[in-house]
């Protein structure tokens, strides 16, 4: 291309290149490509809101239409990240309101969003279409009201698992009568009743509505009418799935489901009354995704349901399914790709259901396409893990949560090193792994040696000492996110592998043995990292440097230390002086 290849043509070629990875590669080819690419980039993903500033983003990419930003570390889901940690989206919205008047989509995960923020969004972007807030918090239904009232072209409003201050259900009535653009609405996390008539009218006047996820407050009796108003639905989350037993309701529901020929995904099912389950039989064969994680029904009912869903690709279910139900799953659902089994009684001491490692083994044998697993159970053996690994070398995500910490192989009483070792050795494409059970440094040796594609690793109550961490940091070439709790990892491994941290998105360590001195050292040596010490006992300066800190969050950034840290977070300073912290 030594001769002139006009910019518009190159731009046109780039318009067919959409993955972040490819676009980033394109921008690094040469000066002219960098310039062209930056002007035609429409979508950006920011995996850590503190890795870059809003200012940098808007300056480099002037024509963005879609933004996705993530905030808090993953362990925030387990309440390990104290309140007030950060992740405020406000500065981003302010910057974008000035720079991107044509912004269409905002997707947030684990961020703090205020009502002011939502109002600003609703007023700043004339063509705003998509708002997805996953595990976010800080806003109320008033904020939602501004969005639905002002965003004339709203297509998606998805509140998945956010914590919303639920003042009333009135916000839904703020959708103007002229709104017909809705494609996706997910209010499953809200508690209050919304006006049913407003909901019904909204649903029936939006011909493109494909995904509707109701909250628990929507009673079962209202469901048939809603469905009739939206027979084109592809995804449905029911409200409470219980009512007194009335034959006419059952048949009404059944008929309504019959009309939904496009339905592929079902969820909701709070308070399930099993007698009403047959109402969904008409759609079972078409289902690819079924989320029964709130459904407290027992194994026979679950099994009956599953046996009709031959095309199931994704199943989320409580451990009420038991080994017997999983056997049936293995027999009937040959297209299964993802399985998540959640605990019904995680705090109970005794096992309350007949779910063991056998269930997972069966599924691994019977479902050739299985690639993603999240499994809670109370016992595991190396033999089972080895079998699973051999059965399913195509696993991409494997998260095993044995409920008791440091549980041994129940057959041999050994650590589970060999089992997880087999997983990483056989599953060469493994990208995500969560460990549990009794584990020594051996397992980390295996992981460092074999898990070359591993991007995210979660460790709890595992390992013997620094060597374990050293294996992981020095061996896992693709590692992007590492989160560790309650494991005896200390300074040496971190310091020896300090440079590795700049190639990762983030590292979280809590209740480990990392000393304050080591944190300071890391902060000095690697100024392109933010080394944040989280300690609710007060300033680490008041304790000896060798004293371990409570929690540590390290992430790479070009934005420098952040200014919104709460009083219990200290950012290690580059010069090794008093760490930056707003007391």
């Amino acid at each position: 291309m030594a001769y002139s290849f006009p910019e518009e043509v190159l731009e046109y070629v780039f318009s067919f290149i959409n993955s972040d990875k490819d676009r980033n590669a394109v921008s690094l080819v040469c000066k002219s490509w960098y310039e062209i690419e930056r002007w035609c980039r429409r979508r950006i993903f920011i995996g850590n809101c503190y890795a870059v500033t809003p200012g940098i983003m808007v300056r480099r990419f002037p024509e963005i239409r879609s933004v996705e930003i993530k905030g808090k570390p993953h362990f925030a889901d387990f309440n390990l990240v104290p309140e007030g940690w950060g992740g405020y989206v406000y500065p981003w919205v302010v910057a974008m309101s000035r720079a991107y008047p044509w912004l269409e989509e905002i997707r947030l995960k684990r961020m703090v969003v205020s009502d002011e923020c939502l109002e600003l969004i609703s007023k700043s972007f004339k063509n705003f279409k998509v708002l997805v807030m996953s595990s976010c918090e800080g806003f109320s239904t008033d904020g939602l009201a501004s969005i639905v009232a002002n965003c004339r072209n709203l297509k998606e409003l998805d509140l998945r698992e956010s914590e919303v201050e639920d003042l009333s259900g009135h916000w839904l009535s703020h959708f103007p009568d002229t709104c017909t653009s809705l494609v996706s609405l997910n209010i499953a996390c809200l508690a209050s009743e919304v006006s049913f008539s407003a909901l019904e009218r909204l649903v029936s006047r939006c011909p493109n509505l494909k995904s509707l996820q109701l909250n628990r407050a929507v009673p079962l009796e209202k469901l048939p009418n809603l469905l009739r108003g939206a027979p084109q639905l592809v995804e449905l989350g029911t409200g409470a799935y219980s009512a007194e037993l009335r034959p006419e309701l059952l048949s009404n529901l059944f008929d309504a489901f019959t009309v939904c020929k496009e339905l592929k995904g079902l969820s909701g099912f709070w308070d399930v009354v099993p007698a009403y389950l047959p109402a969904i039989y008409p759609v079972c064969n078409g289902l690819t995704s079924l989320n029964l994680s709130y459904a407290t029904i027992q194994s026979p009912d679950i099994s009956k349901l599953i046996s009709q869903c031959q095309n199931l690709e994704r199943l989320w279910v409580l451990d009420y399914i038991e080994d017997s139900g999983l056997d049936i799953l293995a027999t009937c659902c040959k297209n299964l790709e993802e399985l998540r089994v959640f605990p019904s009684d995680p705090y109970g001491v005794e096992q309350n259901v007949a779910l063991t490692e056998q269930g997972l083994v069966s599924v691994s044998e019977g479902c050739p396409k299985l690639q993603s697993v999240l499994y809670f159970c109370r016992r595991m053996s190396n033999a089972a893990l080895v079998t699973i690994a051999r059965n399913r070398p195509n696993l991409i995500r494997f998260r095993l949560c044995i409920i008791e910490a440091r549980a041994t192989d129940y057959l041999t009483l050994e650590p589970l090193d060999a089992g997880f070792g087999a997983i990483v050795e056989n599953c060469r494409e493994l990208r995500r792994l969560s460990l549990s059970g009794l584990l020594t440094d051996r397992v980390f040796e295996y992981i460092g040696k074999h898990a070359k594609k591993l991007e995210m690793l979660s460790i709890a109550f595992a390992g013997d000492g620094d060597l374990g961490l050293h294996h992981v940091l020095s061996g896992c070439e693709s590692l992007r996110k590492l989160e560790i709790r309650d494991s005896p990892f200390g300074d040496k491994a971190l310091l020896a592998n300090a440079a590795k941290l700049e190639t990762m998105r983030s590292l979280w360590m809590s209740s480990c043995s990392v000393s304050y001195g080591a944190c300071k050292l890391l902060g000095q040596r690697l100024p392109r990292l933010n080394v944040e010490v989280i300690d609710e006992r007060g300033t680490p300066e008041s304790r000896p440097e060798s004293c371990p800190i409570e929690k540590l969050y390290i992430y790479r950034t070009v934005a420098g230390p952040r200014f919104d840290t709460p009083g219990f977070i200290w950012t290690m300073d580059e010069e090794g002086n008093t760490p930056l912290g707003i007391a």
């Binding site: 921008s27 405020y88 002086n577």
Partner: protein, 368 residues
């Protein structure tokens, strides 16, 4: 007005930039919007003397290809499948020819062909690293090391590092440019046009942290000159002495920083002080006193260097670079981060749906 031949076919005359002229069946040539327009608007193309001059990007070879495409596509009666098969075979060209073809098709405004070839080029680009793309398209590697900021030859191919690095590099460049401008002014400003506040703060040790830092660094440099090389055993004595001095220093700087903390911010925002800051940069060594046991320190240093070597980066040079960058980044965060985060966090405990079991939130609590 086309010349009518015995077989009743009409032809259009086209001329490429190399001067050669050829005649092409009318229906084929007219498939190209640019040629079509020329014929209709100017009447050109009817004879050899009035051949239509094609755009520069259309050489005879690529014209041949384009005309083949037009010839096939303008014929009615091809099924979609046939067209698709033809197209797939058609674009099986080497990259250079594909580029020429795209470029030529664009200049002839032949949209469907531009589409076809552009998609093909996109597929070629996808999945490649920047180096590979450069090689494929013979593009210059003209982004400076600074702009790429890839001192760590990534073991992973994660482009997000590069994205961050890029952004960082650009900011540095901007800052450097600004500094060049400022340096001219700095000389004059030293002629004390500063306000009393400035002077007081300066005297009190506060160009914010920077001044403290500079002093600290100077002190460390002095200490180091007295030192033996850090790997020697006689380090011990010096180290102890250094530990004392360092703790004293840090206590002092603690105080200093707190005293001027408010004026720090104000100062840092003033361009003059930042320029002074930059021009006084002077770090030659990465060595830091960390109070670790020397043997352990040795070991760690060795491991670190080992690792660094494995990553193809040169540690000491990098450290120099890093320290140089460190000062500038301070500015970056001042000028780049225009707004301190503002939020109104709402407490929402009551609204949390207790009845809902967010299972993912529960899992590891169990281990408490």
């Amino acid at each position: 007005m086309a010349i009518v031949r015995p077989e009743m076919k009409s032809y259009i005359w086209l001329q490429t930039t190399d001067g050669s002229i050829q005649e092409v069946e009318e229906e084929v040539a007219m498939f190209c919007p640019m040629i079509c327009r020329e014929v209709l608007q100017t009447g050109m193309g009817s004879s050899k003397n009035y051949a239509i001059k094609l755009p520069q990007r259309v050489n005879p070879a690529v014209l041949g290809l384009i005309l083949d495409y037009c010839r096939f596509h303008q014929l009615p009666g091809h099924s979609n499948k046939e067209l698709k098969t033809y197209d797939e075979k058609f674009i099986r060209l080497d990259t250079k020819n594909l580029c020429e073809l795209t470029s030529a098709a664009d200049s002839l405004q032949l949209r469907p062909l531009v589409d076809l070839t552009s998609r093909a080029l996109a597929r070629i680009i996808e999945g490649k690293t920047p180096e590979e793309i450069r090689e494929t398209f013979h593009l210059p590697d003209d982004l400076t090391e600074e702009e790429k900021l890839e001192p760590l030859r990534n073991m992973t191919d994660d482009p997000r590092i590069r994205l961050l690095n890029r952004l960082y590099a650009r900011k540095r460049k901007e800052l450097k440019e600004r500094e060049k401008v400022k340096n001219v002014e700095v000389a004059e400003e030293h002629m004390d046009k500063r306000s009393v506040d400035d002077l007081l703060s300066f005297i009190n040790g506060g160009d914010g942290d920077s001044k403290c830092v500079r002093s600290a660094k100077n002190k460390k440099k002095n200490r180091r000159r007295k030192d033996q090389p850090r790997n020697s055993a006689s380090n011990n004595d010096n180290e102890n002495r250094e530990k004392e001095t360092e703790s004293l220093n840090s206590a002092h700087y603690n105080g200093a920083v707190e005293d001027v903390s408010s004026s720090n911010r104000a100062l840092m925002l003033q361009d003059s002080s930042s320029a002074t800051l930059l021009s006084n940069l002077d770090f030659d060594d990465a060595d830091i006193d960390d109070g670790l046991d020397p043997a352990l320190k040795e070991e760690i240093d060795r491991e670190v260097e080992d690792f660094a070597r494995r990553l193809n980066s040169v540690w000491p040079e990098r450290m120099q670079e890093i320290y140089a960058l460190g000062q500038e980044r301070r500015l970056l965060q001042i000028h780049g981060n225009s707004s301190v985060a503002r939020y109104t966090g709402k407490r929402n405990g009551s609204s949390m749906n207790v009845a809902h079991l967010f299972y993912r939130k529960l899992i590891l609590i169990v281990f408490l």
